[in-house]
Amino acid sequence: MSIKLISVTKIYKVKTSENLKYITGIKELSIDINEGQYIVVSGPTGSGKSTLLSLLGGILKPTRGEIVYHNIHLSSSRDEKISRFREVYIGFIPQNIILNANMTIAENIIAPNGFLKKSLKSLKIETEKMLEKLGLLNKKNWFPPELSGGERRKVMVARALVKNPLYIFADEPVSELDPESRDAVLDLLREYHENGSGIVLATHSKIDVGTKADYYIMRNGEIFFSGDKQKEW
C-alpha cells in the first residue's frame, strides 16, 4: 500500500480586491510514501511543505500531475471516494491551530472521528487513553480557549491519531511545545510508526524523531535534497 505523487504541480489562484495572482506551491514533484515509512520534510517558510502534506492527504487537488492512493486516482475519483480514504486511512495534523472553540477537548477529538464505523463507547475510551498519554486527561472537559497554545496542538495530535491511521501527515506538530511535550508527541508518533503507520512530518527546524527516517529538504516547491541523514537547509 502506498501513496504516489506523479509529476505533481500545484498552483494557487489567489484573488484579492486588486488583482488575480497565480502562486506556485509545488513544482513537478514525484514522491512515493509507503506504509511504515517515516519521512521528515524540512525547508524554509513558503518552500511548499504544507502544500505537499495537503496534497498527500487529498485535501488539495493538484493543478497538474496525478496522485494515486493504492488504486484510487485522485483526479478521476469522486469526492466521496477520496473522503472515505481520508476518513479511514489518514490522520492529518494541520499547521494552524484548528479546533472547535464551542466543544470540549474530548468532544473535539471524538466528533470528527465519530463518522467512522466505531462505537461511541470505544471512541470515548480511545480518546481518554490518548489524552492520558499526552498528559491532558484531567482537562478533557476543558474548552480550547482555556488551554495554552502547546496544549491545543497536543489536542490536534490526539484528534489525528485516535483512529489509528495508516498514514499520518503532521505539519509542524511540535512547534510551540516545551521540550517535555515535544518528546511526548514525538514518542507517540514513533509508537505509531513502529506499529506500521507511514508518517510524513514537516518541520522548519532540525528535530530528532528518534527512529530511522528519510529526510527531504524543500525549497521553492521542489525537493532539492533527499537522504537518510538530516541536513541543515
Partner: protein
C-alpha cells in the same frame, strides 16, 4: 454510526446555545402562524364566508415568505460561523452527504421542538380561551378535533420541509474549497 451522528448533532445543539434558542423561537413563531392560518382556512372553506378565503391565503403566504426569508438569513449566517467546524470535518474525511445528514438532523430536532411547542401554545390558546374560532369550528364540523389535528400535522410537515430546503440551499452555497481556505488561514 447513526448513534454517533446523533450524539454529535446533540452536542452541537447543546454547545451552540444562542443559535439553538434563536432557531427554536423562529420555528415556534413560524409554526404558530402556519397552524393558525391553516385552521382559519379550514373554516372559510364554507360559502357564506368564502370571500375571506383570499385574505386568509394572502396572510398565510405572507407569514411563510417572511419566516422563510428570516430563517434563510439566520441559517446562512449560522453556517458562515460554522465554516471552520465544517472544514475540520471535511479534513478528517467526513463526506458531504454525512455532514448534510448531521446538519439536517440538528435542524430537524430544533424545528420539531419549536413546531410542537408552537402547536401546543396555539391549542392552549384556542381551548383555554374558549375562543370564537373553536365555536365556529364546532358549529361547522362535528369532528372538529380531526380538523385541528389535521391542520397541526400539515403545519408540522410544512415546517420540516422548509427546514430541509433551507439546509440544502445554504449547505450547497457554502461547501466549496472550505478545506483549502481553512488550512491557508483565509476564512
Amino acid at each position: 454510526m447513526l448513534i454517533n451522528i446523533l450524539w454529535i448533532a446533540l452536542t452541537n445543539i447543546k454547545r451552540n446555545k444562542h443559535s439553538t434558542v434563536l432557531y427554536f423561537l423562529m420555528y415556534l413563531i413560524l409554526t404558530t402562524g402556519i397552524f393558525s392560518s391553516l385552521l382559519s382556512i379550514s373554516i372559510v372553506k364554507l360559502p357564506p364566508i368564502g370571500p375571506l378565503k383570499d385574505f386568509f391565503y394572502s396572510i398565510t403566504i405572507l407569514i411563510l415568505l417572511v419566516s422563510i426569508s428570516v430563517l434563510f438569513g439566520l441559517s446562512y449566517i449560522n453556517i458562515l460561523h460554522r465554516k471552520t467546524e465544517i472544514a475540520i470535518y471535511r479534513i478528517f474525511g467526513v463526506r458531504k452527504s454525512d455532514l448534510f445528514f448531521m446538519l439536517s438532523l440538528e435542524g430537524l430536532m430544533i424545528s420539531t421542538a419549536g413546531a410542537l411547542t408552537g402547536i401546543t401554545l396555539t391549542l392552549t390558546a384556542l381551548f383555554g380561551a374558549q375562543s370564537i374560532l373553536i365555536d365556529m369550528i364546532k358549529s361547522i364540523y362535528e369532528s372538529y378535533i380531526k380538523i385541528i389535528l389535521f391542520s397541526a400535522l400539515r403545519a408540522l410537515f410544512t415546517v420540516m420541509v422548509i427546514n430541509i430546503l433551507i439546509t440544502v440551499i445554504v449547505f450547497a452555497l457554502n461547501s466549496k474549497k472550505e478545506m483549502e481556505k481553512l488550512l491557508r488561514g483565509i476564512f
